[in-house]
Symmetry: C2
Subunit: 255 residues, 2 copies
């Protein structure tokens, strides 16, 4: 019984006998993708609120009713939960709160429509945005009439509004990506889709925002296994693809 | 366009410019837990079918309709999906299939009731079982009349039956665990609950089965942060706890 009590005491003793230091290698795919340009790292600080925002790739099965921080159902089964697992198991002393508010189908203007409730009210210290594939895809798919300029203008406005409301927020912008040759993504996507990738990168660069080159991640991944291993339909990642994305995301923060 | 095509070709070229070799340290908590006894490692082989079996800790929000291999909704949001993400992003050349068939509330005899359909028919090469907390907990909670001998006998029978049906299956047994002082788990659990941990360990040892000392993981974890950081109610892990469990699970396999 004594040892049981010892373990339950909240002593926070640093375990100095860290004996076995094993390591889980970052996927070579992710290392390769970052070999050219390392991302500007964001330091995770005590009490930080981390918010994942975006479309279906972020949303990915999250519960609409379990919306509290750090609740697994509320984080879904996409890249946010993989990233959250690592952040939370390592930063146990920091009282972090992690939320997911991705909504399937969203374009930038639809983020803007729900930005007060689903972002500004949450007051994130670290805000990760992945948006853009629907701004392009919905043109052919649903007759959406927005252009690349709509995407750029909407994105610039959203970032300006966010910085005004949350002057100290640290932003992360993810590159929209697609995997050609897998179901929904064919030659007709190019070269137009590349402009959306470029705009996201420009918005990040102009605002000195940490940028995750997800397209490069998937470009490296398809050198290793078919695109269908990494995405279901060219747009939505499989578990393997989502796990890669999370590793890339984790490369943008330090504890 | 040329570079796009290059990336989309399924050339499977080994990327020899692995340039940047970064590494994601295994949580010190997991390393410490394995410092005394390293688990017998199972090699993941080409075409392996990996099955996670157990109770709510394994089940944890998995879909009952999306039951195909490697489908995120079907893996839930507990430790199996964290483990699956790592296995699948790294073993991209192995055509692995990963399933979760945990069912909330299950005791060993309830696994046995559905074992043909939910295990043997799936023909796993690697079978991970985490069962036992309900065999104990349901006595006080629901008036269940099974004893420690019931647990032992049922578990031995289940393993024997599995080995007979699948002579080459590689088994992993997880230790039932509880975190005292968090909601559902109080002094009344002890010392009786420890017998269930011990039985699981004995069943593993007698059959030369890889054993994951989850209790040790959580014992190490509560030295770092309160038990409520790692489990919701003393029994069910938080995201942080589930991520630790996945890291421990991953220490039992090699790619």
């Amino acid at each position: 019984m004594i040892s049981l009590f010892k373990n339950s005491r909240r002593t926070f003793i640093k375990n100095s006998s860290a004996a076995l230091i094993a390591s889980l290698a970052i996927p070579e795919i992710v290392s390769s993708a970052f070999a050219v340009a390392k991302p500007k790292k964001i330091t995770i600080q005590d009490g930080d609120v981390i918010l994942f925002q975006g479309d279906s790739i972020t949303d990915w099965g999250r519960s609409r009713t379990q919306t509290d921080a750090n609740v697994s159902a509320g984080l879904g089964t996409g890249y946010p939960i993989f990233a959250a697992g690592e952040i939370l198991n390592k930063n146990f002393e920091k009282n972090l709160q992690i939320f997911n508010r991705g909504v399937s189908g969203d374009k930038v203007f639809q983020l803007a429509d729900r930005w007060d409730k689903d972002c500004l009210d949450i007051k994130p210290n670290i805000l990760s945005i992945l948006i853009g594939v629907n701004d392009f895809w919905a043109i052919a798919k649903h007759g959406y009439t927005g252009t690349i300029d709509t995407y750029r203008n909407d994105y610039v406005k959203l970032i300006d509004r966010t910085k005004k409301a949350l002057p100290n927020v640290k932003l992360i912008i993810g590159e929209p990506f697609a995997v050609i040759g897998v179901k929904e993504v064919d030659l007709k996507w190019y070269p137009k889709f590349n402009e959306y990738r470029q705009v996201a990168r420009e918005v990040a660069e102009k605002n000195d925002i940490t940028f995750i080159p997800y397209q490069t991640i998937f470009d490296e991944a398809v050198k290793k296994a078919p695109g269908s291993y990494w995405t279901i339909d060219g747009v939505h990642p499989t578990i393997a693809g989502a796990s890669l994305m999370a590793h890339a995301w984790l490369e943008t923060v330090k504890s």
